[in-house]
Symmetry: D2
Subunit: 349 residues, 4 copies
């Protein structure tokens, strides 16, 4: 009953197998070989346009390099007040951008409220040097609390971005889970709605170390080769990242994995909705379920072997959890087993 | 006949196999699981003391984090004028240290000359704020030109470091090749000679992505957990790095690989010494051989399928190469085949 | 009728005269001369303890160096959501700290709410590397909206700081105005209440370029000499800053100036309270008055020669200003003339 | 007999007087007022073209912001191995550029050797991400050892800069001294020879805090307003810097001061050439004279009240100083008195 995080899981067998298959022989390093180039081509096909592709070793690197690529002096990037880049990356985006700021924007359900976003951007009149200058907007899809920006919600934020000449970045650490839940194509969830840069995460969805930073307009990343090398994110034996993506995309494995993980989350959600001893915190839309339990029940679950994390209560929902309760997060992945989910649910009654 | 670099090779089969073996099941991420901790313990045994171990994704990250861990405002690190950290990392050490300087020190054979080192350090009198302040010394073992610091040479530099209260870092991207060539133990080549920090590289020696940053005195790295996370170098599924080291150390695989690579280099060296159409630039001591050829012979080799890089002529040996000649670098690895070496040598006659 | 800002005023005649008096002759540069050292001694007397004194050229430099002195990897400093360091320094604190974060804390009247402060700090459990680590708390005295932290309010925040081992910084760009309004001594407004670092501003209070960064515990600034030099804030002819402070402190000139400025602000405040065509936004406690006027009246004032700035409405008081109104800021200084104040007030009826 | 440095002197009386004259009244701060704008216009006239002018508080700030304005990821600026920016600014250029590198170039007489410059730039092939990328060339005029780049020497370096698309920066901390010595106009010593950016120093030449960063092509500095503010170098009461330049330029005061200082240096030089107990280290071309004395004579001079600094021996002239000797530097300024120079010379016999 391991629901701690999708990064507790190992590697999907098909990906592991592919890694082994390509392990011998020589190959041009640093992503310059044919094998890597072919995989880059796969991204073009998936996104239905030519995109610039940069493999990196962590999602934090992808997000931080995304902002570094569009950095400006005194720059300010707007993100949700509880976005992963703001709360869980130890200031990596600030480090990679030499101190550009992440400005927190409020909004319900873990999503930027467009009204607040406009108000925050308005605090930076053009050329007012004392305040600094807007440089990007970043959304997380799926969000840190397992919710999703719907197609029109992305578009609404993209319109604000466009009006201010700001690139729109999507932190897609759980890109696949969002995609299958919304039933969209990669193009539909990104550039067709106005997204310019994507942190395309695969590690949480069955790879072991495969993150791609994508620029819908390659020109936007023209400095990135130097920035990435300088950030120690240019892997020499890069083909092993490429190989993971190779297996990941083959026969839509990535979508299958995401569908399985999401289905397991839905299973958990229904179980919690019907449970005596747990409440759903809010609706789960991808592969993360947030529940409220009292402490004795949490102890009980843990004694029975369930693994999960308590979670910070979002600032604007402080009231939802009583004193004797805790908010917990349950995450599913390719490795989540239906029997285990059912065992967990049974323990909630 | 691929002698381009040891990072053109793939992964040693034993390491690849180990990766597959551990690919299923759940594990605490971010290096906090038992599997990772056990491998850290292996480093303790190898180095015959408790060392702090940090897995990272690239050698550049290891070197840069090494300096970041001992960073000081206005800090200056001394390294050879043609050290890898100075010439081949796109300023990553400066980025990770927020602009601490790498001060070039001259010296023959790719090695810091202790006399010059003392003179350079002397330019920074204590508390003279205008100049900045020394913060570290870094040596590369094996060096960028395939030579080695002998045991007493390390000690001589370490003594200077100690006299100035400076930590001594060893960039060990080719640690194993140096070790077996010098016939030393890890302890003998490092802390017993005064080395404080080691970038312990395994990627070039048969892994695909396995670098460990080691601190002989764990206290020296007390800020590193935050620095590493912030630098996007904390891998979530860290156990896959650990697994590579697991196979790497098992039955001394790493030493066997290094011995093979070095033997192939010696083979090349002898071939070049006896060749009509090539000269040895200087003595090869690990797994890199530098040769001087005229351009027609280089063309001929390349047409026959030999792959290698031309190399910058070290500043203090400018005279050794004539106008019609080029300096080339030949690198061997676990994947280098003896027959290929012999074919290459035959082409030099 | 110039109420634009206290930095629109020139230099108090006594300070100007002192600058001229010391203009000839030689003196050890970089703050190392006797003249500078004597002024540093004056700070010790004023603060009733040995403090470390660093002259810098701007208030932004003082604030940014204050945080740089106590910087930590992944560091987070807590300040009011509308603090000057967060809203008006173009990210200088982030630049000087290599990207440490300023975390906004809500609170009424421009002051950090201790309850919110505790909640924000609690989001950073010790050694939880993903979030980063608290490194400082910063308060502005007087605040950006002209209010003051009372003695016990400072102490309450200092207690929280102490409980978390965090240094407490006071941005004292208007230190003197706060001091005379609260009728405290420098010691009483700072270290006796738990303040560790003070940006002691004099430029806004009658100097032209005189800012001192003070550390109540000199040991806390042991790296600052290098940090300041590296930040280009070590003035060679530093004695001219010292000379400004010399005249500033003589016969309590600084307190007289501040009393005058505050009295002029009180005059404005009373005028606005009694005016037909203006409302007071909130109580003015130092030398800044915030008023709400409708646009026709603002136009009228400006046509009559009044100079002042519109101001961003604090986020938590959005409702106080109607659609046809604007919030304006009126600032007084040593150069504010009572007759001009009265003329301004007369125009409000 | 104070020859310690030109920053030991105070302020020229005409400049001091001007500061006092403009001390009352209100003025738009942050350099946006008419007074500042008028002075900027004076720079246009002096340089015979429209230049962008940025006042800053120190020469280190000017130099560091110059490079920050043209910064690139993995950027490398080439300067003489003993340039002031490399040896005496505690890494400020690296700090302001987020870690761009200063690459040392050898050359006699304190000047970059064009041959070496080309060789160093050649180590950075275009788009070779491992090495980084050239971003600027910086020359010091007068150099740190009191020599001058002649008109054609500037042009030769500018041609190399142009061929590589690099901006050429001139650190003109002693701009005036160089100008009058070479008998050139500001335009002739800068953009007419290919210089793009000038740190125009006035502090050492009779002001107390007046440095201007000039861009011959204003477009090159389009990001600088934000960069400068963020670097805490935007002075609020900026008009007091402007006032210093006002007096500085009036009736060519700046050139007169420089001529006096240079004449005093020539006087010292001739004295040393004829002295029994001192040797000239190399020819003085501006307001700094370098002499070699034995230690007893140095003691004698100091006992008689002479003040000067010992100096690091340039790396490529190590042999010129014997074991019992020292290299000393003698600097003259507006405040240097001829009688004192003669007294000093007399002591050398």
């Amino acid at each position: 009953m391991n629901f701690a995080s999708d990064n507790w899981a190992g590697v999907h067998p098909a990906i592991s197998k592919r890694l082994q298959e390509i392990s011998s022989g020589f190959s041009t390093p640093y992503g310059a070989g044919d094998f890597d180039k072919n995989i880059e081509q796969r991204f073009n096909e998936l996104f239905e346009r030519e995109v610039a592709v940069y493999f990196v070793s962590t999602g934090t690197a992808a997000n931080s390099l995304a902002l570094a690529a569009v950095n400006r002096p005194g720059g300010v990037s707007f993100c949700h007040r509880e976005a992963h880049i703001l709360e869980d990356e130890c200031g990596a985006p600030e480090f990679f951008t030499h101190g550009a700021r992440l400005a927190p924007v409020d909004g319900d359900n873990g999503k930027i409220d467009p009204h607040h976003l406009k108000a925050e951007i308005a605090r930076f009149p053009p050329n007012f040097i004392h305040a600094g200058q807007p440089m990007a907007i970043s959304i997380t899809q799926a969000t840190e609390i397992g919710t999703l920006y719907k197609s029109d919600e992305i578009e609404e934020i993209a319109t604000i971005a466009k009006n201010h000449g700001l690139p729109l970045h999507m932190d897609g650490a759980r890109f696949a889970n969002a995609l299958v839940s919304l039933n969209l194509t990669p193009a539909e969830m990104t550039w067709k709605r106005g997204v310019d840069i994507v942190s395309f995460g695969a590690t949480k969805n069955g790879c072991w170390c495969a993150e791609a930073l994508l620029f819908m307009n390659p020109e936007m990343s023209k400095d990135l080769p130097f920035i990435r090398k300088r950030a120690a994110q240019l892997l020499s034996k890069s083909r092993f990242v490429a190989a993971q993506f190779d297996a990941y995309f083959k026969d839509d494995l990535w979508l299958q994995i995401a569908r399985h993980a999401n289905a397991m989350a839905q299973h958990l959600q229904i179980g919690i909705l019907n449970a005596k001893n747990a409440r759903l915190a809010w609706k789960a839309e991808a592969n993360e379920v947030f529940a409220i339990l009292d402490k004795p029940n949490i102890d009980k679950l843990q004694k029975q072997g369930a693994i999960f994390y308590p979670w910070n209560i979002p600032r604007n929902t402080v009231g939802i959890v009583n004193e004797n309760e805790m908010l917990i997060r349950l995450v599913t992945s390719f490795a989540t087993n239906k029997a285990e989910v059912e065992r967990f649910i049974a323990l909630l009654d």
